[in-house]
């Protein structure tokens, strides 16, 4: 799959600009970015639900704009919010989805039962979808995305709104799918999720690609080690110089009431930095400390937090 620079101006809004990336076969690929970064638009384009106004995107060699039928044959999609067919029961949801891909109902029924069992919702096979919890519906969506055995699976923020335990079990499912050699493209705005699951991550913001690498390489690229954020009672600008002079501080930024200090020596710089602030007549109201992570990289690249 090789989406190349899909640009999607919709009206006045340009959702994506020059987003060039290639996902390899069998890869677990993450698109990480805050809400409004253009992740859902990217998935929309790659799953043929949004027409790109310029640029090209290929899925398994098929062009999303001109060969939409061929693309759809290759993909399974797990939507951001479960959208099962409420007119049908759980098993029918799967068997009919398979039928839309030309799979006979005998084959589809046995596949559906196997999927429901593996996803631990076989007891709901005859139930109405409204009788399922949010997490169970999301698992049904995963079963639906798999029933026609697609080559590429797209998941759009699959764990949003799920409780932590359900999220963990979903991660387990995704890991197993990946282990089977499936190509998975997932969007998320959870750092941890991208870090733990993905082979490679593209960090996107405002429709642009900021970073693209393995989680480990991205973390190494995070600037200056530990990030310490101090919320100040006054203007941080007056403290920047003094903080920069502290031994072990590699970089200092001021933004609003927040002073961001990058330290080579972990938290040991905290007390001299607080001292420097107070010497400058500014009180410190809050301190947070983050190890080098995707989060600190993201903040360094965009000046914003992820969520």
């Amino acid at each position: 799959m090789a989406p190349g620079g899909p640009g999607a101006p919709r009206g006045e809004i340009v959702a994506l600009q020059g987003l060039d990336l290639e996902v390899h076969e069998g890869e677990f690929f993450g698109l990480l970015g805050p809400n409004g970064a253009g992740k859902t638009t990217t998935i929309g384009i790659l799953t043929t639900r949004v027409k790109p106004t310029s640029g090209t995107a290929l899925v398994g060699g098929a062009d999303v704009a001109h060969q939409d039928v061929a693309v759809r044959q290759r993909i399974g999609v797990v939507p951001q919010r479960p959208n099962p067919d409420r007119g049908l029961n759980v098993l029918e949801n799967l068997v009919f989805h398979a039928a839309y891909f030309g799979i006979p109902s005998s084959v589809a029924t046995s596949r559906a039962n196997a999927l429901l069992e593996q996803l631990a919702i076989l007891d709901k096979a005859g139930a109405k979808v409204e009788e399922m919890s949010g997490g169970q519906q999301q698992r049904l969506m995963i079963a639906r995305a798999l029933i026609h055995e697609p080559r590429v699976i797209f998941l759009d923020e699959p764990t949003v709104g799920l409780d932590p335990q359900t999220r963990l079990s979903l991660w387990e499912i995704l890991r197993r799918l990946h282990a089977e050699g499936r190509t998975i493209v997932m969007t998320t705005h959870y750092m941890e999720e991208a870090d733990k699951l993905c082979d490679r991550i593209a960090i996107v913001d405002r429709g642009q690609l900021l970073e693209l690498d393995t989680p480990a390489a991205l973390k190494q690229r995070a600037p200056g080690g530990t990030m310490i954020e101090l919320t100040l009672g006054g203007d941080p600008a007056s403290v920047v110089e003094a903080a920069r002079a502290v031994d072990g501080v590699s970089k200092v930024e001021a933004q609003g009431k927040v002073l961001r200090v990058y330290s080579d020596r972990g938290g040991r710089v905290i007390s001299p930095v607080i001292q420097a602030a107070e010497d400058g007549g500014v009180t410190v109201t809050n301190i947070s400390l983050s190890e080098p992570s995707l989060e600190t990289l993201f903040v360094a690249r965009t000046g914003r937090k992820l969520d």
């Binding site: 061929a70 759809r72 044959q73 290759r74 197993r176 282990a179 050699g181």
Partner: protein
């Protein structure tokens, strides 16, 4: 040592294998089967929703008023085909417009069908055909009920079954296509408005409760109502079910309905496509 994917969710993926070919026809049949299964589950609500209003009208105007001698016996003959026309049109329009408004408006349930490996327009076409079938079902339900409520109607004949079926099919297709257009073009919060501003005038000025010839007394209206496709369904039903009473020529009816179907089909499918692909 290599391990096999014993924990697998499906068969291991062989990406070099050729993709199975999917025939558009088999997908169309699957889509239609889905809509028929859902319709069967909701048949009681469906019939109440679409035939209650015409049947109530029938009880008052086809049963009570003739008995009270407020209207002549001949009125029943004019009313029966009109009631059938209204039932099938309401059923066809609602069977498509309501799910479209819901699916595109908030539930997004149609997404699973939009992922089917067939041209998006085929999915729209299937919805229209499903709506047509539901129009036919409503007509088949109302005809015997109407006959029971009204008692014997001297001019009624079922000898022109082919013509009846043709009018029913064309009428259902016209209103099902209209339902597709309205359901995809109108904002969800305006759906109530659709019924009072578009559908209600169609029913009342559709020559269903009175024959078109009756409008001779108001010539302006007689020609104005010709823009309303309901007129042709009602007059077509009269021509096919009660041919001995005056009615519009079936050729005119057929041509007008074909034009209506072609117009709303084109508009409906185009509008569906716009909603489906952002």
């Amino acid at each position: 040592m290599t391990t096999t994917a014993a924990t697998g969710y499906a068969r291991p993926i062989d990406s070099s294998a050729p993709l199975p070919s999917v025939s558009a026809w088999s997908v169309f049949v699957a889509l239609l089967r889905r809509d028929m299964i859902v319709a069967r589950k909701e048949i009681v609500f469906f019939l109440i929703r679409t035939t209650m209003q015409p049947l109530l009208f029938l009880i008052v105007f086809g049963f009570l008023l003739p008995r009270m001698n407020f209207v002549g016996k001949g009125y029943q003959t004019a009313l029966l085909p009109g009631i059938l026309a209204i039932s099938l049109s309401l059923a066809a329009i609602q069977s498509v417009a309501l799910p479209m408004v819901q699916d595109f408006g908030w539930t997004k349930e149609i997404e699973d069908r939009l992922l089917a490996p067939v041209p998006t327009r085929l999915i729209a076409a299937e919805k229209i055909v499903a709506g047509m079938i539901q129009g036919v079902i409503a007509a088949a339900f109302v005809l015997p009920v109407a006959r029971i409520v009204m008692g014997p109607i001297p001019a009624l004949t079922l000898t022109h079954g082919g013509q009846v079926l043709l009018v029913v099919l064309l009428g259902s297709a016209a209103f099902s296509s209209l339902g597709m257009w309205l359901g995809t073009a109108i904002a969800p919060q305006q759906i109530g408005l659709m019924f009072s501003v578009i559908v209600a005038p169609m029913l009342f000025f559709g020559c269903a409760y009175y024959p078109w010839r009756g409008l001779d007394v108001v010539p302006v209206m007689k020609y104005l109502v010709l823009v309303n496709p309901m007129v042709y369904v009602a007059e077509g039903m009269r021509g096919a079910l009660t041919p001995s009473v005056p009615h519009m020529s079936l050729v005119v009816v057929g041509v007008a309905l074909l034009i209506t179907v072609a117009t709303f089909w084109t508009l409906g499918i185009r509008s569906f496509y716009k909603r489906a692909i952002g």
